[in-house]
Subunit: 225 residues, 2 copies
């Protein structure tokens, strides 16, 4: 099992988050990559997402978020940067062939900068505008942008198993971004994308990473009346 208190690699995560966020905190991406290559890591757990940030946490992560990755004198934040570093360790995550490598990295950035922002904006309108009478109208204005990007992604994926014929970090990030789509119809409109996400989530490494994130939350579940 990659979670190993004696490992030289440290990944920060939260002790506990509200139900809505469980399974979606971004240390998932890092845990998943480490599981794919069987690389052990130790967890460093901080108080919940909404609470006061420990000063040593903010010193490593300017936005007070998780994950932070430490290894020797390296300290990294941003899940994309961390994944790229892990990918350099193992060809199973990032191909060594230069052309395939640059395509995989293009897809990593596409997941984070061309797909996730639109999914996230729709999500933001879901919770930040909760109860406003214009919430539906605002979502209607944002949704076409998310739909357009997913339609383009569906065309690019076509009938392939992965975005570039074999699983890479580009797929890992893209699946992790897509599974957070806040409206079921977004993915359901593209059966190839829906199947792609299921394929990613069926990987043993994804399941092991999810179990590890949820296990930390379960150990710190607040007592209820």
């Amino acid at each position: 099992m990659p979670v190993d208190p004696g490992s030289a690699i440290e990944v920060t995560a939260y002790e506990w988050v509200p139900p809505m966020a469980k399974g979606f905190v971004k240390d998932m991406r890092v845990r998943w990559a480490l599981e794919e290559i069987g690389l052990p890591y130790r967890e460093r757990l901080f108080g919940g997402a909404g609470g006061e940030k420990a000063p040593e946490h903010v010193a490593d992560q300017p936005f007070g978020q998780v994950p932070v990755y430490k290894e020797g004198d390296l300290s990294m934040f941003e899940s994309g940067a961390i994944l790229l570093h892990i990918g350099e360790k193992d060809e199973r995550l990032l191909p060594r062939d230069p052309a395939a490598r640059t395509r995989a990295i293009s897809w990593m950035f596409a997941a984070l900068n061309s797909i996730e922002p639109f999914i996230q904006t729709l999500f933001l309108m879901g919770f930040a505008a909760e109860g406003k009478e214009w919430q539906g109208a605002a979502k209607d204005v944002v949704r076409p942008f998310a739909r357009m990007r997913l339609a383009q992604l569906s065309t690019a994926l076509a009938d392939r198993e992965w975005l570039d014929n074999r699983f890479t970090l580009g797929d890992l990030l893209m699946v992790d971004v897509l599974r957070a789509a806040p409206e079921d119809t977004l993915l359901a409109a593209h059966p190839n994308l829906a199947a792609y996400v299921e394929r990613g989530m069926a990987r043993p490494a994804f399941k092991a990473a999810m179990a590890a994130q949820l296990s930390a939350f379960a150990r710190h579940e607040p007592a209820t009346a």
Copy 2:
């Protein structure tokens, strides 16, 4: 001058865009990086951002956008991925020291995934919700997220010249993201950030890149009545 029709490096850009987008199309980031290290590139220009996409353009860029970067048998999309590739060529863009390198890459991803999405959402509410009576209310709901991230970034920058004591691609991307903030008060609230953006835009390479992007538009300005 880096724009050189005989170069082995090709960067795609648009022939022309509406005034609002001039200077902000994302080939700017790639032109800027190439100017920083004096690496020549040839331009390949496509019809405007809003128009019909040429099929060979979509084949290289799944979202029908610019820039695409080609070099030998490498073909890359997403400005972040392209910058990372260019950064590997020259220590002036990406430090060779492992710890400094990973910090620079963390800032690159931070610009694209932790700052740009909130600025972009505010921008989206500016144009997609134009004329709706709830536009102001929707912006009010999004603005605190953008403000929070900029306050955290301002704290991280503190009184340094660049995010990590010397200019890197992390600064190039962060300055390019911040200068697109759609409301002047966002940056004005943090004098150190406003000065940081000015410092970036004062670099000769930024100015040369801007001149090159605007020059293409000027050559293809539509005739007006």
